[in-house]
């Protein structure tokens, strides 16, 4: 579905992404792992149009989307969440969610006067949808709280909620689970699986939690130093010499040996 070819992103002399090539299959939940500073977030940023790549190509279903601005990618169904949660701090959580689906009748200024009824209906539908998502994320009680004032973990949920407001094609999740408690993490995992099964979302998930990755993702891609180190099922990745050296460490290897 998404194909990344020989992508480079340099910050000055520093090669954050250094010739990464990968392919995300339609309908998959792909895990993206790797040590801190491997370039995972930067890769997301380049795909999502936040940074222009230094070199390389990104295609969505064969169509070149390299360097398109984020709002255009959004309209093509490419969504992402932020590792460090972003929110519209002066708006309530519900309004935050309601901001997402843009391109409605209310966008046109003259419609505010001439198509009041239609806009009111759309707003109502949007509101119902937002409430549904909040309910799903178990944060209904925060609907009218200012998003700037909710906890870090709750902001993370809001990030995920945002992707549920529209019909996305592919969603890039940057550590949605970090800072979220265990039970909720399971709920998020379930949500991801459901969105994948029922609504056909393709996911790319960055996580450092191997249990979470193991439960959701197939295949798993491991990055290090801006390059793709290995790709395969989580077990294959765990057994890969390079990955163990660069990321997982020998502790895991010994543990697996012990188990075997």
């Amino acid at each position: 579905m998404i194909k990344v070819e020989n992508l480079h992103k340099h910050f000055g002399g520093f090669h954050a992404v250094d010739g990464a090539s990968l392919e995300i299959a339609e309908g998959s939940i792909t895990g993206l792992i790797g040590p801190n500073g491997a370039g995972k977030t930067t890769l997301f940023n380049v795909i999502a149009g936040v940074h222009a790549p230094t070199a390389g190509r990104v295609t969505l279903k064969g169509e070149d989307i390299t360097g398109l601005p984020p709002h255009e990618l959004f309209h093509r169904g490419v969504l992402r969440t932020f590792q460090i949660a972003h929110e519209f701090s002066s708006m309530t959580c519900r309004e935050n969610l309601m901001m997402v689906p843009s391109g409605q009748s209310g966008e046109k200024i003259w419609n505010t006067w001439f198509a009041r009824k239609k806009i009111a209906e759309e707003e109502e539908a949007l509101r119902a949808k937002a409430d549904e998502v909040l309910e799903f994320l178990t944060i209904s009680h925060l609907a009218d709280h200012k998003a700037g004032q909710v906890s870090g973990g709750q902001k993370k949920l809001l990030e995920l909620g945002r992707t549920m407001m529209v019909d996305a094609k592919i969603v890039f999740l940057d550590e949605v689970g970090a800072g979220v408690n265990r039970t909720l993490l399971n709920t998020i995992g379930d949500a991801i699986i459901r969105l994948n099964k029922e609504r056909g979302y393709t996911f790319v998930v960055i996580e450092h939690d191997m249990d979470f990755i193991g439960r959701l993702c197939d295949p798993v891609i491991c990055m290090a130093e801006g390059k793709v180190l290995a790709e395969g099922t989580l077990d294959e990745i765990k057994a890969n010499e390079h990955v163990i050296e660069a990321y997982l460490g020998t502790g895991l290897k010994n543990k697996q040996k012990g188990a075997a």
Binding site: P70, F82, S90, M91, M99, S102, G103, E107, I109
Partner: protein
């Protein structure tokens, strides 16, 4: 009786002028604050944007006067507002396309924008003087007073009189209407919310599918309207002189910063703080005190803290105090 006379003098020379001036500053500062909130730079060309809009209104007014169109007791200039706003909007959008968009693409630092806006300011400055000249232009017509000193005295039987100029009444009424519409727009319409969202968190707004160029365009249109209305009201109340509008930049920025740059409520509050301070500090209080104090305490001097020549110093001092003690302004600015 004495104390009522004191109040009337106070209202006539301080209260009413300051409210009118405050409304004008508030509208101007709103423009400054919107540009700051959405485009993230301090627009030094704002005073001259006001001058440009007013100039178009003046020219239209003259034309209408020459062909005999009038607006009854109200100033003809009000009729020219739509044309003036339209022309200013065209100019701002053209400048955005030709100048600011380039720097947006480069993702330039705010300082660079600021210097660029300084350049735009000089160009607008020259443009206005080239078209209408640097001189003082009067374009007020219609009825001068809502209530004059003589009428007031006859009405109340007081020794002191109070006058409300048409322009003062008009300024306040217009400002209230404009502010109500602006806040309705920002808080209730989808486009307004996109603007607030963009101002609050640009990255997230982009990734939520909000088109930045559209937000910027709408912002310039609103800024054009605000600047033109503020400029025309100020010009009707005083007179139109390009240099004076350029000088307004200081009180405008002081208002916006005192209230908290990027915060519309702050801009309005700031406008009134600056206006009241300026008028109070430069007013000769003798007359009020003569009425308010017992006879033996009557002041012999004018009791004027600063002459009006120094009125801009007031904005400056307030600005310095706010920046020292509460740099984010009274309302903690940043996002709309």
């Amino acid at each position: 009786m004495e104390i009522i006379n004191a109040l009337v003098v106070f209202a006539n020379f301080v209260g009413i002028p300051a409210i009118a001036y405050g409304s004008q500053l508030a509208l101007g500062a709103l423009g400054v604050t919107l540009v700051y909130g959405v485009l993230r730079f301090s627009n030094f060309a704002h005073g001259d944007t006001m001058a440009f809009g007013t100039m178009i209104a003046v020219l239209c007014t003259w034309w209408m006067q020459s062909v005999g169109i009038s607006f009854g007791p109200l100033p003809t200039a009000l009729l020219s507002l739509p044309i003036a706003i339209f022309a200013t909007a065209l100019l701002l959008v053209a400048i955005d396309r030709m100048v600011y968009r380039f720097y947006r693409k480069q993702k330039s630092a705010p300082v660079i924008y600021l210097i660029v806006s300084l350049g735009v300011m000089f160009i607008m400055n020259g443009l206005v003087r080239f078209i209408i000249g640097p001189g003082d232009q009067r374009f007020f017509d219609g009825q001068r007073f809502i209530i004059s000193v003589r009428e007031f005295k006859a009405l109340t039987g007081l020794k002191e009189g109070l006058a409300i100029k048409t322009t003062q009444g008009l300024t306040v009424v217009t400002a209230v209407i404009v502010v109500v519409i602006l806040f309705w727009f920002l808080n209730k319409t989808r486009t307004g919310k996109s603007m607030r969202a963009f101002s609050d968190n640009e990255d997230l707004a982009l990734l939520s599918g909000i088109n930045p160029e559209r937000v910027v365009l709408v912002t310039w249109l609103i800024v054009a309207a605000l600047a033109t209305i503020a400029g025309v009201l100020y010009g009707l109340d005083k007179s139109f002189k390009p240099f004076v509008y350029f000088q307004l930049l200081l009180p405008l920025f002081a208002s916006a910063i005192v209230g908290g740059l990027g915060n519309p409520v702050g801009a309005i509050a700031g406008g009134f703080v600056i206006a009241f301070s300026e008028v109070t500090v430069t007013y000769a209080w003798k007359k009020v005190l003569v009425y308010a104090l017992p006879d033996n305490l009557e002041p012999s001097s004018l009791v004027q803290l600063l002459t009006t020549d120094y009125k801009f110093a007031v904005s400056f001092v307030i600005l310095v105090i706010v920046l020292l003690f509460r740099p984010t302004g009274l309302f903690r600015g940043k996002a709309l």
